[in-house]
């Protein structure tokens, strides 16, 4: 089966000679799958999406939707957005304020070259039911709330069952509570309709809930494309690890590596066993990343046991955050529960389970 969307070595430069906004990105989206592009602002995720939509013109690579190439600048090929058979949901909703809900949703059916025939009214009605706006068909869109407007936008892009649905941070203009509700509902609607989706966001929670696979982007490059569990437990790269929340970084030197296991010398603190996706060599400088919630305070496990000192304790009610000093390096540890068990300035045993410690080559770049 061919992929619903195939992107090969996509490149986009906004001006010749500048750093590309999208730099050699390749990935496929099989039919029925939802892929989320995740990354900080300016990482090129929205530009990638807009290249797929045809709203930006790529400067290199190839984009195919279904079995049709829609963009290949090398051959001077560019299909206009309206002929790509796509739907798109915008961050600003982009519902037309001079029309009613029904007029907005019926618009694509009226103006598409091959709208698939059938009864426009029935299609509009079904789609509005699907997004939960059945009652609102005759309302002017300006009388709706933000969440409702975004549902109209979703209905408008689903009503003609495009091959591919593009969503550009559709929830980022909504308030936190509504965002969570609409996020879960969005997943239900997309799965119910069997839609193939490309979704762009900077919100990890959204990415994890919505995506069958997540692609993490930085500086125009796709760093890792994998199912959410893998992104969170086996980050391919120190940026991915840090971006998804592994905020602790220990620095040291590689002592030995066999396969995906590496032993790293952390200096005064001692040696640490870690998982690594990279072919590290003995003597390389390395960084070990781990999440604060994986630091076990007061425990002596089978491996990676250290001793440290609690420098600061911040009680937060449902959890307690500790700043721990360990052989001259700092760690942040998170303890769940309403009782804080470790004293400030107290000595404490620390276990760092090897599976949750990820070693990467130290490129000498600061991690923000």
């Amino acid at each position: 089966m061919t992929a619903a969307l195939a992107i090969e070595r996509l490149e986009k430069r906004f001006a010749p000679g500048t750093r590309p906004a999208v730099d050699g990105v390749s990935f496929d989206v099989p039919a029925g799958e939802i892929v989320v592009l995740l990354g900080p602002s300016g990482c090129g995720k929205t530009t990638t999406l807009r290249c797929v939509a045809g709203l930006e013109h790529p400067t290199g690579g190839r984009i195919s939707i279904g079995d049709r190439v829609v963009s290949e600048p090398g051959r001077g090929l560019l299909v206009s957005p309206r002929e790509r058979d796509i739907g798109m949901v915008f961050q600003s909703y982009a519902v037309w304020p001079h029309m009613t809900v029904r007029q907005n949703v019926a618009y694509p059916l009226k103006h598409r070259r091959n709208s698939g025939g059938g009864d426009i009214n029935a299609k509009v009605k079904d789609t509005l039911e699907l997004v939960g706006l059945g009652e609102y068909a005759e309302r002017p869109v300006v009388s709706l709330s933000g969440g409702q407007m975004q549902r109209v936008a979703l209905a408008r892009s689903l009503v003609y069952r495009p091959q591919l649905l593009l969503l550009d941070e559709p929830l980022s203009n909504l308030d936190a509570k509504l965002r969570i509700r609409l996020r879960d509902e969005l997943r239900r609607i997309l799965k119910q309709t069997g839609m193939t989706g490309l979704y762009v966001t900077h919100d990890q929670a959204e990415a994890v809930v919505l995506g069958d696979r997540i692609g993490v982007m930085k500086d125009g490059k796709l760093l890792q494309m994998a199912p959410p569990g893998e992104i969170y437990n086996r980050p391919a790269d120190s940026f991915v690890a840090n971006f998804t929340g592994a905020s602790n970084v220990l620095t040291g030197k590689v002592l030995a590596r066999s396969g995906e296991r590496a032993t790293i010398d952390l200096g005064v603190a001692g040696k640490i066993e870690a998982w690594t996706p990279q072919p590290l060599n003995a003597g390389d400088k390395a960084r070990v990343a781990l999440r604060a919630e994986n630091v076990r305070l007061g425990e002596r496990g089978p491996a990676n046991v250290f001793s440290g000192k609690v420098i600061e304790r911040r009680y937060q009610g449902m959890q307690t955050v500790y700043d721990v000093e360990m052989g001259g390096q700092r760690l942040e540890a998170l303890e769940l529960g309403t009782a804080a068990r470790h004293e400030q300035n107290g000595e404490v045993a620390i276990t760092l389970p090897p599976d949750t410690c990820w070693a990467y080559r130290d490129e000498g770049v600061a991690i923000d």
Binding site: L55, P81, R82, W96, P108, H111, R112, L166
Partner: protein
Amino acid sequence: MTATSTAALAEATQPAAVPRRLGAPLWVGALVIVLAFLVLYPLLMLLFGALSDSNPVIDGFGKFRPSLDHFLKVLGNENVHLAFFNAIAACGGGTILAVAIGLAFSWIVVRTNTPFKRFIAGASMIPLFVPPLVAGVAWSILGSPKTGLLNTAFKWIGIDFRVDFYSMAGLILVFGIYYAPYVYMFTSSALQNMDPSLEEASEVSGASAFTTLFTVTFPLIAPAILAGSLLSFVVMLGIYGVPAALGAPANINVLTTYIFKLTAWSPPLYNTAAAVAILLMIVTAILVWAQQRVLMGKSFATVAGKAFRPRSLNLGPWRWFTFGLALAYLFVVVVLPTLALVIAAFRKFLFIKDFEALFDMRAYGWFHFAQVFDNPLTMLSIYNTLKVGVITALIGGALAFAIGYTVNRTQVPGRKAIDLLSTIPVAIPGLVVGVAYLWAWIGLPGGLYGTIWILALAFVARFIPDTVKALSTSFMQIHKELEEASWICGRGLLSTITSVVLPLARPGVVASMTLLFVLAIRELGSSLFLYTSDTTVMAVLLLDYYEGGNIGKTAAFSLVQTAILAVLLGLTNWLARGAAQGSARVG
């Protein structure tokens, strides 16, 4: 805080509070009186004039025989009907043309990759600065049926086609091309502020660029289009110069030219003029009110709080077509009229036998300029114009500052009334201001009528809304806390204004005063009824030359007036920029 210290504090502030309590009503009262004197009194006199049949010149001031009959008779008069419908036709047609041009231009400039967009955008504003009478004169030189340069050119080329700008079509055409920038100003900013994803959504939905333009883009900026067309209609309705130059030869009267004709009658029909002026004012007021309503309504297209990069459509080779369209417009509205004025001003006779004769240098010279400057009235009118301009700018600027500060920066009771009074003139065409001031002062002994001052006061009244508006924006940029900090430091209100507000608002004040100065020196409508031979101004003298029939002298003086205006515009622009830089250092 203890009770005693509160009491002590209250006691301490007491002496300061008393004069403040008296000062505010006195100040508001004074402003209201000044505005009533400038705006309400002339309007009331105009109303008396329209509703009576007593003539202030013949019967003397103070005689008032009320008679509604007279007003109704005027409203039933066929000539008034004709002038009314002519005005509606000319301004309506002109507005439609202006919308077509303004919309096309704003789309070309904001939404396409047409080359030299910035230049086009800047140059297309030039028509706004051309005095209407100068435009009318230029187009009469170009388009008069017999000697018009366009017809001469057609004859040379051998095209059997003649144009006649002394016609309704001519009026509409000239109105349309000169007032398109008003529509452009509104539509271009609406297009600029429009969320581009609204159009992208349509494109992704499968609609063509053309469909998107007419089902999404234009409907979304409809309020801006409406506001722009109402404004351009109102402006055209109040213009005297263009219909005087192009309509009069064909005996086409619009409301403005008809009003003036009535006062030039012998004996002058001041009452009838007042009645027609009231009619013109009512129509204008309704349209201005409608325009304000449109602007107040929430605009569809603008999305607050986010900066957009407006979408720029890649037109490919078609961008040279749009560039050509823009050049064609600029050629018609800037180059052709200028060329016509230059040829007419420097040629001894306008008749040009053939194409070669156009370049016969012996036919060119400074004769007309020499004649114009031989006339002692010329220098007098220039001197008078500048004098009126300076007086208007100084009085109007000071008054606008007082009004702007009181309305925007204080909580004094009565400031709403001041705001209202100072906004009324928005709805009064210049010509009506002229008739109203005529009625207000002609019969009064003590002689303000016939002096430079009545012109200046009329201009102040006419332009006070624009000046206050221009000033208010600069007030709003000064944070209230800057003033409060000065009060906390122990400065009083007046001292705060002079030491904090005035220096910070200086660029705004200078800019508003220069705006007022430029508006005053090109104003014709209100001057028509208020000048005397001693106080004639440039715009009026130009009309004299035109009606005298000597096209060479008219063209020459048009160029002189345009040159003076251009120099002053450049100078004031430079001054305003200097002031802005000066204040940047202060701020």
